[in-house]
Point group: C2
Chain length 180, copies 2
DNA sequence: AGTAGGTGCTTTACGAGTAAAACACCTGCT
DNA sequence: AGCAGGTGTTTTACTCGTAAAGCACCTACT
């Protein structure tokens, strides 16, 4: 009665790994509504496969994905960011940002400048080399993403983007400040 | 011209973090087609938030998510699995499985039995305590997932499941055996 | 002015995953 | 039978992220 997708969707959406996992759970726990798994299991699995695939070109450039995210944040915002800004922007802990920034400055991709007013804070920006690296990598990433999505027609792509946005909106609203 | 979702979708899908990130990239690189980001960025972000949220009840039970995945694989298949099977089933490395199995057997959740034919392989199964733990946790997980999705009506949920399945099918087909 | 409390960042200690090597065992060829 | 090569699992050395403590600095109250 939980109004989920238990409905049926007759023979659709066969042949992905999540479908077989869901069927296994249904066999073992016929009483539970496995509808949500059809969505959330697939989101998780898609994300895992996408990251694995997209990491390859980055590693070729000697970057981890979190490092690329950090450089990307600096590039796309267009202005300097503090470590704290970067932590929020890349959804990672402050400590992780500290270490990544250290590694990236040593490699000459990022520069730091102390704030004159508040001597606790640092301002970070890309060096020319850092900017060039991001600008070289980004088209590669997008080309791969485009090729993955090329199997879906544009209407499906838009539909997927809209539905995911709805889901994400809900997640971000609900999880903005959870109780640990 | 790459037939992506660049079309427009006028004012739709505002107010999630991915939308603002995409707008930033568009401002810096107006030449690139950022359509794929609208999908793939959201998949990644949704997965990150979902995992973070779903980890909480697991940690309360003293389990990490990979550990729960391992126990879940044993539960849903209903029969014994070898470490290799588990590695494939949970998409993790053999070494990681070895360590997790060790920890879980020490906690009395998993039992191992040597193969009589081939003495290299072990067969693993849940203890009663392991089975009970999974069976107690699973409804919690599903209830949370149901509540997250409760904002979407059933038709949207089905649509999302179908579209994600199409994407996942493509990813699994393409990435079954990549070249490192 | 002096100080208590908060903020921004970094350091430390540790846990967890990985890749590569090591190990133990099986299989098929001669 | 004996051994070369393959497979299933574990071990080792290392990397990376995290939580919690630590440090330096700012701010606002008395």
């Amino acid at each position: 009665m939980t109004a989920s997708s238990g409905a049926g969707v007759p023979g659709a959406t066969r042949s992905d790994t999540v479908a077989t996992v869901v069927r296994q759970w249904e066999a073992v726990h016929p009483d539970l509504d496995t509808g949500p798994m059809e969505i959330i299991g697939r989101v998780n699995r898609c994300a895992a496969l996408l990251q694995q695939a997209e990491d390859a070109p980055l590693r070729r450039a000697g970057l981890s994905r979190p490092e690329f995210d950090l450089l990307g944040a600096l590039r796309r915002t267009g202005h300097e960011l503090t470590p704290g800004d970067l932590a929020r922007e890349t959804f990672s802990s402050g400590a992780a940002v500290t270490k990544r920034v250290k590694a990236l400055t040593e490699r000459g991709l990022v520069e730091r400048r102390g704030d004159t007013r508040d001597r606790r804070v640092a301002h970070l920006r890309l060096t020319d080399a850092g900017r060039d690296l991001v600008d070289g990598l980004l088209p590669e990433q997008l080309a791969y993403e485009t090729s993955v999505l090329s199997g879906m027609d544009p209407a499906e792509q838009d539909g997927l983007a809209v539905l995911l946005s709805a889901l994400l909106g809900r997640l971000e609203g609900r999880l903005g400040a959870p109780r640990p």
